[in-house]
Symmetry: C2
């Protein structure tokens, strides 16, 4: 990992690192599909109008223009101009609206794609990176139980990855907003934005913001901050909130919802989920459950998985499509896995066997041996030249191929494990390497649980 | 397939169509890995200078600029400006040069990614599409045998896809260039460009081009055209070329090379490969083997897989990296598979089983059943509401889920195949659906061979 990207913010992996990334993507796919999420991909390109509709700051977006167009300054202010998506939620909302007639609701999908943001690159923040999203979207309504379920699915998926302990920090917008209303603060979005800064600027400065910018009294500011300090791994947060003596129907709704999530998680994914009433999430479209996730001991990396419930991510005429979804920062996770060596690949090539050549005329016979091995799922290469055997073995060694295959002039076969030096007679129709040698293994230094 | 893309040239698939695309990508990955090709991905973004270095026409390239930059007209002429890659070969060449010290040569990789071209979209030509490339790259030298091998790998990969008969049309640049030199035409690149137009404009017009633009005599033009008419499924093209009475050392070299490819292919992949001496390939960097591929009966779709040998795709100081590679047009193939219904997915969801709810309190027990099924690889969803069973069954039916699971108040389990109506007692620890119901199947109307 001494290498740096040749374009800042655009990471690329070496083959051995890519094996680890593939393992992460394959694992997520497996868990998502086991839970009934199907794959979709959306185009990388959206119209500028679509991307900025939800009020996302525009400086993060990369606009596109064909190189031979001389003047595109006009095009850029055109809402039909093209730009690269900066997340997978906005494109997914468009996809749902466009294809609603073809989808069976509640529609469950996962989506693992690259997204782009023109920000200044820094540790944990790239300009091109892969996200893995799951969402469940309803047509008109979506039972709350999907909030509980999606948190459990993500906890299971993250548990299957070679990463250290993580913690899903869960809150509920209704709970916070109901509480703020209950203490007489009506600009709940403003309060959430201030509370969102708690970890960055501290309680005192947040209190000042609440007083100066939102006209809160000292008492109101203190109550809002008290709520944000509540953190429990079980449902005891409910009592702690009640002890603050605030009442509001929305607060009650939020308490009941968050209680369901935390109750299910504490029994089904113990230790993975905490109720954390400081979690606000900046984006306006969340309306209930909100989630951020930290790697324990790597909090400065930022959230590795975020999302929540949105009552109306998309709408079409009078129809609305409520949803709940979470997004894993795959590139952020893989970068950390590699830089901290949480996991490494046992080799960089899929190849298990190199079939050597006796002489230049034996290439075709060697291909026959290779075909027999491949037919049983064993990745095999054939030497391109009849070099001395020592050179052919070195070739395999240099590429990290564990076995070399010899066929003598009489057609007798032998296979050699070049790590141990052990060489045995073998039949290409039946010989099989040990399971752990069949393909590159991703070896976790921290234990994955699934 | 009545849907049209909401942005012309940017196709998106419905979940059921995406299952077919995933099958194509998974199949290619499996075959490539069996042959020792490892995965890499490169960033979507290159510098304009890098992209235009090989003389590719610039009008196909999408430049990037951050939306908030007011003036980027200057940036566009800047070779360090960013743009989206238009193929995977140019980025791969850069990757090899940048990482040469970390790669084991001959380096074999596959790469399956989206690429972008700002062209006018038309049938078989999109602005965003997926390519699947394999290349073998050497450090300084690369034995010719890799040319033979890569043609065989691609023939095997394409044979495993649910597509009709295909034909790899193979030629060799040395053969053509040697022949042109042998008849006294020295601007071999010019002749190749003219011959490349043969299918579009016909023999007469090509002859005219050769005479007027390249100063060929009538006799030279006729000889060049005669060479281009030679097409054989075995190595008999060698005799046919010799019968034209032209001699040149480069011609001999090309004949020997192409003979090796066609000889190996005619025994190992009979009927898949033809020597076709009209194949020229526009791009200048090819120096030996060149390949184009047609779907028989769908020739107007254009080439579905192209590439060849390049003696110096990349260089670093005095080092050169010769390679041989082929690129499959995945989106072009998948579009055709879907529009012609060469294959369809048996269902759009991964889910095999919906676990129903007896009452609202049974959700947790239903999750236990689901967890047992998932632990054995069976994709399972749990109903979100304790609706009447008829409604829960309809829910499964609407989503295309084949089985529903019932657990009564006493904990007795039954599973129902909602297609046949058959319902049986079942144990969540051992019950397994039939193999073909376990996950969505891609059913080929045309037979895949592997």
């Amino acid at each position: 990992m001494a290498r740096t990207a040749s374009l800042s913010g655009f990471p690329e992996w070496l083959p051995q690192e890519r094996v680890v990334e593939q393992h992460v993507l394959d694992t997520l796919r497996r868990v998502f599909e086991l839970h009934g999420f199907g794959s979709i991909e959306t185009r990388a390109v959206e119209t500028v109008g679509q991307l900025l509709r939800k009020g996302e700051i525009d400086k993060e977006v990369y606009g596109l223009s064909r190189l031979q167009d001389d003047d595109d300054s006009a095009a850029k202010s055109d809402p039909n101009a093209l730009a690269l998506h900066f997340d997978l939620t906005v494109p997914f909302a468009r996809y749902v609206v466009e294809n609603a007639g073809y989808l069976a609701f509640p529609f469950r999908r996962y989506q693992m794609q690259k997204v782009w943001r023109g920000e200044r690159p820094q540790e944990g923040r790239a300009r091109e990176f892969t996200q893995a999203d799951i969402d469940v979207v309803g047509d008109g309504e979506l039972p709350f139980r999907y909030d509980v379920e999606i948190v459990l699915v993500i906890a299971e998926a993250l548990s299957a990855l070679p990463i250290p302990e993580f913690r899903l920090r869960v809150n509920n917008r209704k709970l916070s907003e109901g509480f703020y209303r209950g203490i007489g603060l009506e600009d709940t979005a403003g309060v959430l934005r201030s509370i969102d800064k708690l970890e960055k600027i501290g309680a005192e400065k947040v209190a000042e913001l609440l007083r100066t910018e939102l006209g809160a009294t000292q008492e109101q500011a203190e109550a809002a901050l008290k709520l944000a300090t509540i953190q429990t791994t079980d449902t005891s947060f409910v009592e702690q909130v009640r002890a603050l003596g605030v009442e509001h129907p929305l607060l009650e709704e939020g308490l009941t919802e968050l209680e369901q999530v935390v109750a299910a998680a504490s029994s089904r994914a113990p230790g993975k989920v905490v109720a954390d009433l400081s979690i606000a999430r900046g984006l306006d479209y969340y309306t209930g459950t909100v989630v951020e996730t930290v790697l324990v001991g790597h909090e400065q990396l930022g959230s590795i998985c975020s999302g929540g419930r949105y009552e109306s991510l998309a709408s079409k005429g009078s129809k609305t499509f409520p949803g709940v979804g979470l997004s894993i920062g795959v590139t952020r996770l893989v970068s950390r896995i590699l830089s901290q060596e949480f996991a490494t690949a046992s080799r960089s090539v899929p190849t298990a066997v190199l079939v050597t050549l006796n002489d230049e005329d034996s290439w075709s016979a060697a291909q026959d041996v290779a075909a027999q091995l491949r037919a049983r799922g064993i990745s095999t290469e054939v030497a391109a030249k009849a070099d001395k055997f020592g050179k052919q073995i070195k070739f395999a060694d240099r590429r990290g191929i564990p076995f070399v295959w010899f066929t003598d002039a009489e057609g007798a076969h032998q296979v050699k494990d070049i790590r141990s030096g052990e060489q045995v007679a073998a039949d290409p129709a039946v010989w099989t390497p040990a399971e752990e040698d069949l393909r590159p293994q991703v070896i976790a230094r921290v234990a994955a649980e699934v």
